[in-house]
Amino acid sequence: MRRLTPWLNGLVWLGVAAPLLYLTWGLWMDRLGANPIQEITHQTGRWTLRFLLATLAITPLRRLTGWNGWIRWRRRLGLAAFFYASIHLLLYLWLDQFFDWGEIGRDILERRFITVGLLAYGLMVPLAVTSTAGWIRRLGGRTWRRLHRLVYAIAVLGVLHYWWAVKFDWRPPLAYGLILLVLFLLRLRRPASSRPVVTLPPQPLSKIRSEA
């Protein structure tokens, strides 16, 4: 596993950057269809969910593989989710509403998928801010971990946002919902036979850097 790590590390970087590269290329080459703004909005929304699910997959992966090295990518996946969510939100505020705050306010009050989506984003902000080593130190591992359990709520709200946003084809949001459910169920099960999992405190940035 140790020898694989640099490769996996590169792969994770690529995975995090690929959607952005693809969308930039697509916009440049006019390959995003007739309504590129909508396409980018939808795709960044889906990538937010995918990276959220990937973040939540780290703990089950550690349990299933017995390898704790997965943890080194969790921060990056979480920040990727935040990054794509930020583009998603910015496109809504700018190119959908053109910063018409009255209209945005009405949207938040009247449309539950907007309410829930914005709430999910609001909860992501403190997690993104406190993702640095300095903040982990300042908060202490226990408080930090408790704060970052918000990710469960964010993921549920994210899937709900998608579910309520789609017109009628509920199959894609259902797929995300089912994956999330599986990830949750994997957490509940703690087989007595397997050796206890050592929960590592989040790694300081400097350490991750030196390993990469």
């Binding site: 007739a34 309504n35 703004i37 053109f98 009247e110 449309r111 009628f168 509920w170 199959r171």
Partner: protein, 315 residues
């Protein structure tokens, strides 16, 4: 002898390769071919009935002079769930649809019900180009030069009875040709309807082409409805049945989500969709959104149809 083993490449294979390597080029070619076919299909009728295809040298009374949305965008950005729910799915999958032979059944409360072959159905009418705005309920819009004829003429030919109050339209149901129908997301086949006076309105047309070419499958070939003051989904595609009925038909989207999609579905900036405002729209190809116009800008022509009606209730 050896030289003779080289068989000529069948033309079908050349087309396939072009399709494979360059879909845009293929679409253009297909459009040209279709245009030729359309001319071929309609020319006998033209000569016999004095029919002609009018172009936009002099805009008609119903035309908008706004710039046309590109042929590429009109034919690759479609809602046609019979071929998939993605916007690009119809252009990818609609080639499975066989539009010849095609029969249309006119039935219900009328004195002259009949089953027509498409060619016979279209033949008596003069094709006109109508440049209409199309506003989708999802908040985007296009300007499309349709090629068609007024639905009113079809209705007059059928001689509806006095008891007929509505017209109901049905799309083909054939999951083999329309793979999207294999998914249970809507109650297939697609059904739409108009009140009789809406159907008789001169703006309402049956279209068989766009951009002077034969209608591409993803746009509702071989024949579709166009009702420009209503949201796009009212303009049902690939019609196989036109039926005169007394009661307001239950349309597919009403059945799927009655609180979101009403029978009338007139473009109305003052009545929001439950999940988004209808005040603005993005014209395909434009960056900024524009204000949505009452009845999609056709208020002068159609507002009288709804006088005294509460358009919030009858949305």
């Amino acid at each position: 002898m050896l030289i003779r083993t080289e068989t000529p490449i069948p033309s079908s294979e050349i087309t396939d390769e072009r399709l494979y390597w360059n879909r845009r080029e293929w679409l253009r070619q297909a459009g040209l071919l279709a245009g030729a076919a359309l001319t071929g299909l309609l020319t006998p009728g033209c000569r016999a009935e004095g029919q002609q295809v009018r172009h936009k040298a002099n805009p008609g009374p119903y035309d908008t002079d706004e710039p046309w949305t590109s042929y590429e965008d009109i034919t690759t950005y479609n809602n046609f769930y019979e071929f998939g729910t993605g916007k690009r799915d119809p252009a990818r999958n609609a080639h499975r649809l066989r539009t010849r032979p095609w029969t249309i059944r006119v039935e219900g409360l009328c004195h002259r019900p009949a089953t027509y072959e498409l060619e016979d159905f279209v033949k008596p009418y003069t094709l006109e180009e109508r440049v209409y705005r199309l506003r989708c309920v999802e908040g985007w819009s296009m300007v499309i030069p349709w090629l068609g004829f007024p639905l009113a003429e079809v209705i007059r030919r059928a001689e509806p009875m006095a008891s007929a109050k509505f017209v109901e339209f049905t799309t083909l149901y054939d999951p083999e040709q329309m793979p999207g129908q294999k998914a249970p997301i809507l109650d297939w086949p697609y059904v739409e309807g108009l009140r009789l006076d809406e159907a008789l309105h001169p703006l309402t047309i049956l279209a068989v082409g766009l951009y002077g070419k034969m209608l591409p499958n993803q746009n509702g070939a071989p024949i579709r409805l166009v009702v420009p003051w209503k949201y796009g989904f009212k303009s049902i595609k690939s019609i196989v049945r036109i039926r005169f009925v007394e009661k307001q038909p239950i349309t597919t989207w009403m059945k799927a989500a009655p609180h979101e999609y009403g029978f009338y579905s007139n473009v109305n900036p003052n009545v929001d969709h439950p999940r988004w405002s209808q005040k603005t729209e993005r014209r395909i190809g434009e960056f900024r959104k524009r204000k949505t116009l009452m009845f999609n800008g056709y208020a002068d022509q159609v507002a009288h149809l709804y006088e005294g009606m509460d358009l919030r209730k009858y949305f």
